[in-house]
Amino acid sequence: MKSKIQEYMHIENIKDEIVPLDVFYSDQVKFPKIDRQHLERNILDSISISLFKYESNQIEVFYKPISRAMDPDKIIKL
């Protein structure tokens, strides 16, 4: 059975023999859809340290509560 990665490669016309094996062993991971409003509300109350490159509701588990003494205005948003 062809992996999903091989399917992508064949669509893009990339030969199997140029891709190292670890790529073929990639895992497919699905995350629940992001509730952005909920997330943004959360960010107002916390310093967010995302552990992953992607966002999901699950990363809330890893959010650390901000010290209430911190002045949010001092956090410069670019």
Binding site: Y25, F31, K53
Partner: protein
């Protein structure tokens, strides 16, 4: 053996040096020209030795035999799918020459900016997470850390021999892990270190793209160490009892998270980790180690931009504060 990289085989200076080398030491000389075809065949990295086999113009050579190298023009360029024209001895087109020029031009501009920035206080490496895992193993070995025997090859028979010698293997990336987000499918693809079984071997073609394999080390637990300013902040991850996380704990099992505890590295291992980071020229990074069933600490890899929030939060290390202090020259404040 002396290797000389050059643009032309008719360079009189090179010829003269070659004659002197032969006259004085009777050393054999390998002359590698700019247009020569260099191909990586395999690398074997074990605790006791390192072998790198390459092929130049159909001649197979072991880098162990090299005593010295002189770059007099020319460069080490490996043939792969990017440089196929060269492998076929085709002339490089105007477009490819211009692309090469523009790539050097672009790199030069970047280097200027990086040079300016490097004068500042810098934490972290401008590597986008890149750090060659095989070179990291060599460095780790140099400072006295144990490493898993490793082979980088594109040949099935090499792996068969390696399995017979070392038993079960894992397959991992040479450098970055592969990442892809499929927008339509709303799913991520991410490559992890994976178990590589005899069944996998049977399904493989005789030749494939060069890939990295390591002896699978049976472990008691994994250790992730965050390094900053000569200090090691470690946690032990009991990932071995969960089939999802036993090969790579980053395959998080959100239903049943691994038990994680703060961990103090033995002083001798800590000194070796610090020595490794200094040799790797990294001021910070996350190091993955294993405590094996034989009670040996085995180095796996380093990530120069490794995530630390998980470690900091679970072990109460307040690493965010340490980094803030580092960036603001406020080292003594506690």
């Amino acid at each position: 053996m002396v290797w000389i990289f050059s643009y032309s085989k008719n360079d009189r200076t090179i010829k003269s040096v070659q004659e002197w080398i032969y006259l004085m030491k009777k050393k054999s000389i390998v002359s590698v020209l700019h247009q020569d075809y260099i191909e990586l065949i395999k690398i074997i990295e074990t605790p006791d030795s390192k072998e790198c086999i390459i092929r130049i113009n159909e001649k197979t050579l072991n880098t162990k035999e090299i005593e010295s190298i002189w770059f007099k023009g020319g460069s080490v360029e490996l043939i792969d799918f990017i440089r196929q024209d060269k492998a076929k001895n085709q002339l490089i087109s105007f477009k490819d020459n211009l692309r090469y020029y523009l790539s050097a031009y672009s790199t030069a501009k970047l280097e200027v900016v990086l040079n300016v920035l490097s004068k500042k206080k810098v934490l972290g490496a401008n590597l986008l997470g890149r750090f060659n895992k095989i070179n990291a193993l060599s460095l780790a070995k140099d400072v006295g850390l144990s490493i898993p025997p490793t082979i980088v090859t594109g040949n099935r028979k090499d792996i068969e021999v390696f399995v017979k010698t070392y038993g079960d293997l894992v397959c991992k990336s040479l450098d970055l892990n592969f990442d892809y987000y499929d927008v339509h499918d709303e799913s991520w693809f991410h490559s992890y270190t994976t178990n590589f079984s005899i069944e996998d071997l049977e399904k493989m073609p005789d030749n494939f793209a060069i890939s990295a394999f390591q002896k699978k080390i049976e472990k008691k637990y994994e250790i992730r160490t965050f390094y900053l300013n000569n200090k090691c902040y470690s946690m032990a991850i009991f990932s071995q009892l969960n089939s999802k996380t036993m090969i790579d704990y980053r395959r998080y099992d959100s239903e049943k998270m691994n038990r994680i505890v703060p961990y103090k590295l033995p002083l001798s291992i800590k000194h070796k980790v610090v020595a490794f980071m200094k040799r790797a020229n990294l001021k910070t990074g996350s190091i993955d180690l294993i405590k094996s069933n034989k009670n040996e600490f085995v180095f796996l890899e380093v990530n120069p931009i490794g995530q630390f929030g998980y470690l900091s939060g679970n072990c109460n290390y307040y690493l965010e504060k340490e980094i803030a202090m580092h960036l603001t020259n406020n080292q003594n404040e506690k």
